[in-house]
């Protein structure tokens, strides 16, 4: 029996990391602040207050739109979306219903698929409620934070692709520099619309609201597919409704049905004049837009990285930028840098390090030292991690390696002297004799002794040859 095809569209709210809020001059960063510390009379909707549009938020919205290859609408407008809730002080949210700033576009995913963007619009965030038994507390720190809501077309057809889309969207926003991207803080939140059908006609959709991790997006889609499929196979119908996701139970539960849907009574916002942009200005913003993940992927092709390794690095723009710079200067030395990034720096214990401390030039120098056998790969890793210690920022890898006593001895005369000493040691006599008699595996013991005597600085590869020559 042919299985159901799943169709998914995703709406994503992105909090923009502007200095001040969308319509008031108040600090937009409320992390670690007391409740209601970042609230102005505009934010708590004092009578007579008027919104004043933050130009920086408009610029960030444009950057976000360009990052998604979207058309930027030169004229856009704000509307009021009305509903009553204590986290919404004015009784309406200022949003863009009819003429959004960002038009159609497309996102290319790393899995090779494309997801079209329907539009994206600017709006203000609401506050936060904390329910405590028989009373609730209102915190308006977040009220008025600029958001863009990105609405995808229903182009997504699996849980994995849904996750991939959300992850790539996250990267795009981070690379564009428009959000702090902290999912735990709610910087990006996903609403996922899911329907299933056996025909080309779409089924009835359910919307899963407010998912705040990639994993929950993937799991919610998987659960919904099973739930909707079970309903249809029992001959029942899927209800058009809003559902919530419970991370602990791994299930979605109904919140609001279509019949209960609110009438938002949209109305043009008379207090905020339309945003009118010059194409020149949009072009200037485009010209300043940093390189996007897909361009990095193309650049890193030459390094032959594993997909997982590459994506792990891409999740940290500072590493991707460093690697890209290295790659452009000397691709041959850069694969090793990528391995250090993914294998050493992105290990649990190093995640708190400042990834920006080592420059591309220093990393290339370090890689070259390995290439020239001046450092063992183990030694190089040790130096590498020291480069991410603040106290070492002024030190070149060469200096660090020397300080750490890790420089390899490649000078044949010096090595021969040590080898002679070792061969003269009584405990090595048997091994030396064995090698002379053609038992080459005994050479390992001798190499080990030389390494010990050289305090690890001898290059083991050249040692093998030198010992063999001496004993033949």
């Amino acid at each position: 029996m042919e299985d159901y095809k799943i169709t998914i569209g995703i709406e994503c709210h992105v909090q923009l990391n502007t200095k001040t809020k969308l319509f008031s001059g108040v600090d937009n960063d409320a992390v670690d602040k007391e409740p209601n510390a970042c609230v102005s009379p505009i934010d708590y909707a004092l009578p007579g207050m008027l919104p004043v549009l933050n130009k920086a938020a408009v610029e960030k919205a444009i950057q976000a739109g360009l990052a998604m290859n979207c058309k930027i609408n030169l004229v856009s407008r704000f509307d009021r979306k009305h509903y009553y809730y204590p986290d919404l002080p004015k009784g309406y949210q200022i949003s863009q219903m009819y003429q959004p700033i960002i038009g159609a576009g497309v996102i290319h995913l790393p899995d090779g698929s494309d997801v079209k963007i329907e539009h994206a619009h600017m709006e203000e965030d609401a506050g936060k409620l904390t329910h405590n038994g028989n009373y609730s507390l209102v915190d308006l720190n977040r009220a008025g934070t600029p958001l863009i809501e990105i609405v995808s077309m229903p182009d997504i057809h699996s849980a994995a692709q849904a996750r991939c889309y959300c992850e790539e969207l996250h990267r795009l926003m981070i690379y564009a520099g428009v959000t702090n991207g902290d999912l735990y803080q709610g910087n990006m939140r996903f609403d996922v619309n899911i329907s299933i059908s056996k025909t080309d006609e779409l089924g009835t959709r359910a919307e899963i609201k407010n998912l705040n991790s990639f994993r929950s997006v993937e799991r919610a889609v998987e659960y919904e597919f099973k739930r909707q499929k079970a309903l249809l196979e029992k001959g029942e119908r899927v209800k058009q409704e809003t559902r919530g996701w419970n991370d602990a139970t791994g299930k979605t539960t109904p919140q609001r049905s279509k019949e209960e849907a609110q009438d938002y009574r949209y109305m043009p916002e008379p207090d905020v004049p339309p945003i009118v942009l010059e194409q020149d200005y949009v072009d200037q913003v485009a010209a300043k837009l940093p390189m996007m993940p897909m361009a990095y992927r193309e650049l890193f092709d030459i390094l032959n990285l594993d997909e997982s390794e590459r994506e792990a690095i891409l999740n940290h723009p500072v590493l991707a930028r460093g690697l890209a710079e290295a790659c452009q200067k000397n691709a041959a030395l850069s694969a090793r840098i990528a391995h250090w990034f993914s294998g050493v720096l992105l290990a649990e214990e190093n995640l708190d390090k400042d990834f920006g401390l080592a420059t591309a030039d220093e990393l290339l120098e370090l890689s070259e030292m390995v290439e020239k056998k001046e450092l063992s790969s183990t030694g190089a890793k040790a130096v590498f991690i020291e480069m991410y210690d603040k106290k070492n920022t002024a030190k070149k890898p060469q200096v660090l390696a020397k300080e750490m006593n890790l420089l390899q001895e490649n000078d044949a005369d010096a090595l021969n002297a040590i080898i002679d000493e070792v061969l003269a040691m009584p405990e090595c006599a048997k091994a030396a004799a064995d090698v002379r008699n053609g038992e080459l595996k005994a050479i390992g013991f001798l190499v080990g002794q030389v390494m010990k005597k050289s305090q690890g600085k001898a290059n083991p590869a050249s040692l093998n040859e030198l010992i063999k020559q001496k004993l033949q």
């Binding site: 009578p47 008027l50 004043v52 009021r80 009553y84 204590p86 004015k90 949209y266």
Partner: protein
């Protein structure tokens, strides 16, 4: 206007105003008085004058402030139970500018709650009486300000005009009132009624005083994105010879014969003063009222959403849960007229009716503006009555909201188009009730209107 100086003490001006306010207490011009602060400020100004310091263009001039302007002096009520005890933490830009020039607020004047009304009968604190005939209404919504100026308590008063709220009470009480071009004066710190037509203006006894007060208030304000760059000049322009259209559509059916005659007489004076007057018909104007009573309630309903009992103002004692907090608070805090407009507004914005009402009204509004634009290609200014009849008796129109809305028929088209419009005294009826003539112009020509009014003033 009497300004404080070496010989005229600000304290005397303020005391005189306060005394008159007391004398005319029965008229109920004021919701609250600002006596102590006003005298304190007057003393400060007198001291500055004595020290020879700079004191501003309105030094020591007492004024009445419509009680929908926020200011830390006293409480701002908007004449609504909802804001019965609301100390404002900020100062409206207009108030800031007026007071920076030394003007002194002696009291907060009465209005229809949230400026919804044409008679000041919708005030939670009770109505204001007409300055000429206390058995009649003051007009509204800025009734308190109009009467305070008409009674000579103050020489000027601030008002707000969304669809006629300055012009109509000015005409009912025989004083000057101006609704400037939309965006001339900042709306920041004034309790919003309908944002797309809210304008801040004033009342005074003559064109020069209006001009002075407006010159002080006008200009760009970073806190109100809809404000215009300052176009107001200190002096009125020369306007002799300008062509004025007498709007025939507002001179016939439904207009009181004495009012029509008063406006015709004013037209004759205009000609005498050197202006050309010609009749003009603008058929589109008759749709103004219908458009206005869709657009305005929609914006009103939206702007009143914030009064939910959560953060400030009234919170009903009957609130049990979130729904009843909203319902009971809004039920107790709003007057019937407020509720009527919220209902109409929410209706025209609801998804099933938006296209049929709100959208259509906005399209018609564009046509109305086009009709004005075309008319002003041929005319410099337009003349018509302010309201169809003189001040009516208390209770005469409260039973039928529609007849009350009809009061606005000649004043809302200009509001929808953002045009400047002034109300000037144009004689009285046989019974002595004031008649108001209304002059309007294209956006930005506010001072042309004042100049024309002044020319007529100078005839007598």
């Amino acid at each position: 206007m009497r300004i404080a100086n070496q010989t005229t003490k600000a304290v005397d001006l303020v005391r005189e105003a306060l005394d008159k306010a007391k004398k005319f207490e029965d008229y109920h011009c004021f919701i609250s008085m600002n006596e102590a602060r006003a005298l304190e400020k007057a003393r400060e100004i007198d001291e500055k004058i004595a020290r020879g310091e700079e004191v501003g263009r309105l030094a020591g001039v007492p004024y009445a402030l419509k009680d929908n302007y926020l200011s830390p002096d006293g409480v701002t009520t908007a004449a609504a139970k909802m804001l019965d005890n609301f100390p404002a933490p900020i100062t409206a830009t207009a108030v800031k500018r007026i007071e920076a020039e030394g003007a002194i607020m002696i009291g907060r004047s009465n209005l229809d709650a949230y400026a919804h009304g044409s008679s000041t009968e919708n005030s939670y604190f009770g109505p204001t009486k007409n300055a000429v005939d206390p058995t009649r209404v003051a007009g509204g919504s800025s009734g308190g300000s109009a009467v305070a100026v008409a009674l000579g308590i103050v020489e000027f008063a601030l008002g707000s005009d969304t669809g006629g709220s300055i012009r109509q009470p000015a005409s009912y009480n025989g004083v000057y009132g101006i609704k400037p071009t939309y965006g001339t004066v900042s709306r920041y710190g004034v309790v919003a009624m309908a944002s797309s037509t809210d304008t801040m203006g004033c009342f005074a006894q003559n064109a020069d005083d209006v001009n002075l007060v407006m010159d002080v208030m006008a200009g760009k304000d970073a806190k109100d994105s809809t404000t215009l760059e300052k176009f107001w000049q200190p002096n009125l322009p020369e306007t002799k010879g300008k062509k004025i259209g007498l709007i025939s559509d507002f001179m016939g059916d439904g207009v009181d014969a004495e009012v029509a005659q008063g406006v015709k007489d004013y037209a004759a004076k205009l000609q005498k003063a050197g202006y050309e007057v010609e009749e003009v018909s603008i058929p589109m104007l008759k749709y103004g009222l219908a458009i206005y009573y869709i657009v305005q309630p929609a914006e009103v309903a939206s702007n009143l959403s914030r009064y939910d009992g959560v953060r400030y103002g009234l919170r009903s004692e009957k609130a049990q849960d979130l729904d009843s907090l909203y319902q009971e608070t809004r039920n107790e805090g709003f007057m019937p007229e407020n509720k009527r407009r919220i209902l109409i507004g929410n209706y025209v914005l609801s998804s099933g009716y938006f296209d049929a009402y709100y959208l259509k009204a906005q399209k018609a509004r564009t046509l109305l503006i086009d009709a004005y634009r075309k008319t002003f290609e041929k005319f410099d200014a337009l003349l018509c009555p302010v309201a169809p009849a003189p001040a009516f008796k208390f209770g005469e129109k409260t039973e039928d909201p529609l007849t009350m809305y009809m009061e606005d028929v000649m004043s809302v088209p200009q509001s929808l188009a953002g045009l400047p419009s002034i109300s000037v005294p144009a004689g009285t009826t046989k019974n002595g009730l004031p008649i108001g003539a209304q002059l309007s112009a294209w956006r930005g020509n506010d001072q042309m209107l004042l100049s024309i009014a002044k020319a007529v003033e100078e005839l007598s």
